[in-house]
């Protein structure tokens, strides 16, 4: 119990240290540049305390529960015995299929719980007057991350060069940008950056490192990198794709209505 309290204090201290530069910046600007008191100061201070305390508890809980579990599972799934058990003895990229499934599922699950994404989803819902649902955006982004991690682990297993995938991804994004509804492009681009923060990065890093040291012929220093890059690219594709799909649906619907009108 005392250990727990000490850990919590330590995490709280680290969180405060991270927040300090932002706090300083805001205070300096308010006092010296804007020279105006902050409206609803009490509420803002209370909210900031909630954010720091909440983040500290969240990180602390992750440290105790999710990270060790994620690391153990990543190493168990990449153990040669486990992979040998599911394969037919000879190893090819198919032998690692549980890893692809695990990567996809854990990517989806951690993205749903990602605080940064929740923040952006709240804002998007607010400015679109409710047309973009928080849940819808988060699920779409999470599906993007799921696909990204499955593909990323496949890349580590096969050892194909990272930049080829990234380039292909960029080209897809560029083509989608040309055709996607212009209103959602900015949001889609932003969803790439927010997926990989507090929850996802440590688990993904453990998975990449574990996998690249388990697969024969892979070097963790070179092949371990890159999963995060995948996880920030494919949510863009997913959100743009979702926007295109919705537009198409509306267009077909309108066409139907028009045809019905014409028939009458």
């Amino acid at each position: 119990m005392i250990d727990f309290a000490m850990d919590l204090l330590l995490v709280l201290f680290y969180t405060l240290r991270d927040v300090l530069p932002i706090l300083l910046l805001i205070v300096v600007f308010q006092v010296f540049v804007l020279k105006k008191p902050i409206p609803h100061l009490k509420k803002v201070i209370l909210g900031s305390i909630y954010v720091v305390l909440g983040l500290a508890l969240f990180l602390m809980g992750l440290e105790k529960a999710l990270f060790p579990l994620g690391k153990i599972m990543a190493s168990q799934l990449t153990e040669p015995e486990f992979i040998g058990k599911v394969g037919d003895g000879t190893l090819n990229w198919m032998s690692y299929y549980w890893i692809y499934i695990f990567a996809a599922l854990i990517g989806f699950a951690t993205t749903i719980a990602e605080p940064s994404l929740i923040a952006v989803a709240i804002k998007a819902n607010e400015v679109s007057a409710g047309t973009i649902s928080q849940k819808g955006l988060r699920i779409t982004v999470a599906l993007g991350v799921a696909f990204a991690l499955a593909l990323g682990t496949f890349r580590i297993v096969t050892g194909t060069p990272l930049f080829v995938y990234i380039m292909a991804g960029y080209i897809i994004v560029i083509i989608q940008t040309i055709f996607a509804p212009k209103k959602l492009i900015a949001l889609a681009y932003d969803s790439g950056g927010v997926t990989t923060s507090t929850v996802t990065v440590p688990i993904v890093a453990a998975l990449g490192l574990g996998l690249s040291s388990a697969v024969p012929g892979r070097n963790p220093a070179i092949d371990g990198f890159g999963l995060i890059a995948f996880a920030s690219l494919f949510p863009i594709v997913a959100v743009l794709g979702y926007a295109q799909f919705m537009e198409l649906k509306i267009r077909i619907l309108n066409k139907k209505i028009k045809e019905e009108d014409d028939a009458i």
Partner: protein, 247 residues
């Protein structure tokens, strides 16, 4: 009577936070019980940890709505009203720079990268050189995030279409990939993803949306977003340029 109302609100918010974590629980339980089939390590501690995660997430979301979002928007509003482009730019740069330079994930990655590079014989294997290399890496990422926010804010002010800038950035990343040393590419790509921390994102989002709200002719949806996109794109270019400088 009043307390009953409070408790109900808190319970409802706790339930919402818990719902966000259900997918993780399902995945972990499924893999442990069906695929890996090994006993759960330290079950008590894990359940305790999950309780922390749920309460923490609830507090964080509550704090966002009453603290972080309002302050971000108020600052955007005040800075726009002041009408000083200079101070707005200074604020934007400082916001990006100061939150990135102290980012623990970046410090860890930079240290790791300096070890790997010296191990591969790319830089001299001396502690002072390694420290210099790691510090330079952190500085180039922090400067790039600061510049990214500045460019993003300028874009909102001028109303430039985002996709020209982003696609231009992609083309630059591709060109840099061709000329950059191979050892730095994976690191550079990942650097884009790790820079935007959990406290920066809500503030930056509130800043962008707030600015787009204040300035005439901008839509918060079309123009307010996009700051984070710059902050994940520019570090890639800068880190590759940094690699070119060293190797």
């Amino acid at each position: 009577m009043k307390y009953k109302h409070y408790i109900e609100t808190i319970l409802r918010k706790l339930r919402l936070a818990f719902m966000d974590l259900i997918p993780i629980i399902v995945v972990v339980v499924f893999f442990q019980s069906v695929v890996i089939r090994q006993p759960f390590p330290q079950i008590g501690e894990i359940i305790f940890g999950f309780l922390f995660v749920v309460i923490g997430l609830m507090l964080f979301i509550e704090g966002l709505e009453i603290g972080l979002f309002p302050i971000g928007e108020t600052m955007a509003y005040a800075l726009a009203k002041k009408g000083s482009l200079f101070w707005l730019m200074i604020f934007s740069f400082s916001l990006g720079f100061s939150t990135t330079i102290a980012e623990p994930a970046l410090i860890a990655v930079a240290k790791e990268a300096s070890e790997i590079s010296s191990g591969a014989g790319l830089i001299e294997n001396k502690q002072s050189i390694k420290d210099l290399y790691a510090m330079g890496l952190r500085l180039s990422v922090a400067v790039s995030v600061g510049l990214a926010i500045v460019i993003g804010v300028l874009r909102i002010l001028k109303g430039w279409p985002l996709y020209y800038l982003i696609i231009g950035g992609y083309v630059l990343v591709m060109l840099m990939t061709i000329i950059a040393p191979e050892e730095i590419i994976g690191l550079a790509y990942d650097a884009g993803g790790v820079t935007t921390s959990t406290i920066t994102v809500p503030l930056v989002a509130a800043l962008g949306v707030g600015l787009a709200n204040v300035i005439k002719g901008r839509s918060p949806l079309v123009d307010g977003f996009g700051l984070i996109a710059f902050a994940s794109l520019l570090p890639m270019i800068f880190v590759m340029a940094y690699g070119l400088m060293w190797f």
